[in-house]
């Protein structure tokens, strides 16, 4: 830190700086308490022991939850049938590749024009290492995995009103933030301001730790030099031969760094939350390799293009009415002893379903959130060739919010598909309200502020606004603490011969692991009922 600014640091400044950090911690802790950073409670492959006595189960929806249930129940000896609205299995486990067509609500159709081997996962795109159930199914189904890089120190952090609108590298921001915080805390220690909080011996260790953590010099200052550059990167990298000497880079100013709020990316858990901690994975070739794997096992039980219109039950079983969305014709019925319904609540709340008032109230209590993902194909991987960004994510306060760099085909040259926007919140509604064509146009307009190469390298794009996805009407169920308290158990309880599963019946909202675990829990309870009943 330059002397002139550190000299004027007051206790109040220090406290406000620490407060800023504690804010991030508080945010993280609150997330943990609310169940957003919870470990999977997977205890290994499910064992449904005991004969199902010829019982049949009708599964509604062939997304991850429905596919898990179809696999396990059929293997346990149940007679299984699955009805699926789409013309493919997988649901939100979905990958768009060249040649795919997607018609959104409102009727606009996009044709994906990606080159071979390039793809976009419009839904889930990463699997944390602790999502043990999903990972186990990947193993069982022979789905090859590769690393998904969540944190890339060379990716960009961008705030439109800071640093002249120029992005900064993640490594620069985190090194400078840590360095300055370490320097300020060292100062507090040296001025005996922490004497009441910790022992003298501990202050010495703390000083040592702060010096190491912040890459401070021997006087506990965060300054331009090789120490800080070893964290934030060099102006000129060390090399070999005659002119090999490194030239250190200069830290950004503390005030501008604080005001940019770029630090929120790591302080508020966008990159270091439990879900995002190394290692994460993605299926080789696209997320839908998982549903393709399931399809090999249970595809024979699935009837595609089937739109469910009513779900009725009586003491003898469950009767479901559905329409064939391709062939049309009169409504058809399917019957089974039991029904596991994995239809998203956004859709299910509009279907005539014969359940008690408590489950019906729960079905009606969960709104579905807006989200938008946009895939952009470029002639060359300029992010790798020009910027040395290999995988990972850049963050921006522009409406695109995120630029995700592809992991597949990394460092192999050729074309590439970027995740050019991944938006939530009000701007995701705004993205959705645009035509697909305009979404792509806007993603280019904003993205070029971070990567000017967009102007010359863009080839084609595809945009999914989740509120316009015909089979989910939104990206995932949006529970609040209040609605969970009031409705969650009623949603998960068995109602006569019907029970529900899906990410909406989990505490891992929008994660595939939530769908898997809720499905396993549901069929375990169903099986107990069948065996003991």
């Amino acid at each position: 830190m330059p002397e002139n600014s550190s000299a004027s640091v007051t206790r109040r400044d220090l406290l406000s700086l620490i407060g800023a950090t504690a804010g991030g911690t508080a945010l993280y802790m609150a997330m943990t308490e609310l169940g957003f950073a919870r470990d999977s409670d997977y205890a290994g492959p499910i064992k449904l022991s005991g004969a199902p006595k010829g019982a049949s189960v009708l599964i509604l929806g062939a997304g991850v939850a429905g596919l898990v249930a179809a696999l396990e129940l059929s293997q346990a000896g149940y007679s299984v049938q699955v009805l699926e609205y789409n013309n493919r299995v997988g649901g939100r486990n979905w990958t768009l590749r060249g040649g795919d067509r997607f018609t959104e609500l409102g009727g606009l159709t996009q044709e994906c024009k990606f080159d071979a081997d390039l793809y976009l996962n419009p839904g889930p795109w990463r699997i944390p290492y602790h999502h043990r159930a999903l990972l186990d199914y990947c193993g069982r189904l022979g789905v090859a995995l590769e690393p998904f890089v969540q944190v890339n120190y060379n990716a960009m952090l961008h705030a439109k009103d800071s640093f002249g609108g120029k992005p900064r590298r993640y490594r620069e921001v985190i090194a400078d933030f840590n360095g300055y915080v370490a320097e300020l805390l060292s100062k507090a220690v040296n001025q005996h301001q922490l004497d009441k909080a910790i022992t003298k011996q501990d202050t010495e260790i703390l000083l040592e730790a702060l010096t190491a953590w912040g890459a401070l010099d021997k006087d506990h200052r965060y300054v331009t030099g090789l120490d800080s550059s070893n964290r934030r990167g060099f102006k000129k990298d060390p090399g070999g031969g005659l002119d090999a000497f490194p030239v250190p880079s200069e830290p950004m100013g503390l005030s501008e760094l604080l005001n940019s709020r770029l630090w929120q990316v790591f302080a508020a858990g966008m990159v270091n939350r439990y879900e995002f901690q190394t290692s994460l994975f993605q299926p080789v070739g696209g997320m839908d390799m998982i549903s393709k794997g399931f399809n090999k096992e249970v595809g024979k039980f699935v009837r595609l293009n089937s739109k469910v219109t009513s779900i009725h039950q009586d003491q003898s079983g469950v009767t479901v009415t559905y329409e064939d969305t391709v062939q049309g014709g009169p409504a058809q019925t399917a019957h089974a002893d039991w029904c596991l319904c994995t239809i998203p609540l956004s859709v299910l709340s509009q279907i005539d379903i014969q359940v008690g008032p408590k489950m019906k109230a729960a079905i009606d209590a969960v709104p579905y959130e807006a989200s938008t993902k946009i895939g952009l194909q470029f002639k060359r991987k300029f992010w790798e060739e020009d910027e040395a960004i290999f995988g990972g994510i850049s963050f921006s306060d522009l409406p695109i919010q995120v630029i995700g760099y592809p992991q597949h085909g990394v460092a192999s040259g050729g074309k590439g598909v970027l995740l050019g926007a991944y938006a939530f919140g009000p701007s995701a509604f705004e993205w959705t309200a645009l035509s697909p064509e305009d979404r792509v146009k806007k993603a280019l307009e904003y993205g070029r502020q971070i990567h000017p190469q967009y102007d010359t390298e863009f080839e084609n794009g595809i945009a999914v606004g989740w509120h316009r996805v015909p089979w989910t009407l939104g990206c995932a169920g949006a529970w609040t603490d209040e609605t969970r308290e009031k409705h969650y158990k009623n949603l998960c309880a068995i109602d006569g011969r019907i029970l529900l599963a899906g990410e909406h019946a989990s505490y891992l909202p929008a994660w595939q692991e939530g769908a898997v675990l809720s499905s396993l829990d549901a069929i375990k309870r169903l099986h107990q009922r069948v065996v003991t009943g």
Partner: protein, 142 residues
Amino acid sequence: MSQVFKEGRVTILRFLGLGAVTAFGLAGAALAADSDGAFSSDFFHFGEKDGQAMYVHVCAGCHMPNAKGAVGAAAYPALAGNANLATAGYPVAMVLHGQKAMPAVGEMMTDQQVADVVNYVRTHFGNDYKDSVTAAEVKAAR
């Protein structure tokens, strides 16, 4: 930070940790407004200045630009010629509190914005209601 968690929306926004902008937004930094007004919101609040802008840039995502709704596995209702709009209190309640899959988008709007968009929808798309709703009435309905 504590007031952040009082925002009803936060549980919706945080669920995948998607986007640093969650974090940028927590601090109240507005996302960029652009030349043609497609984007004017920050991470918790819609920024649209009048009822038409709100309809075009927000509501149309589901109810469609012509307000005719859409049908897939389930449906978005048409707002064009929708008899439920006869009583202003009905759309106000829908916007403020949501219904079934529809999020309570009014939580991210000011009272005036809710009034404006309800008044807009009730006087367009074949709807021609003479009474209008005020910000004060919206406030009372929250």
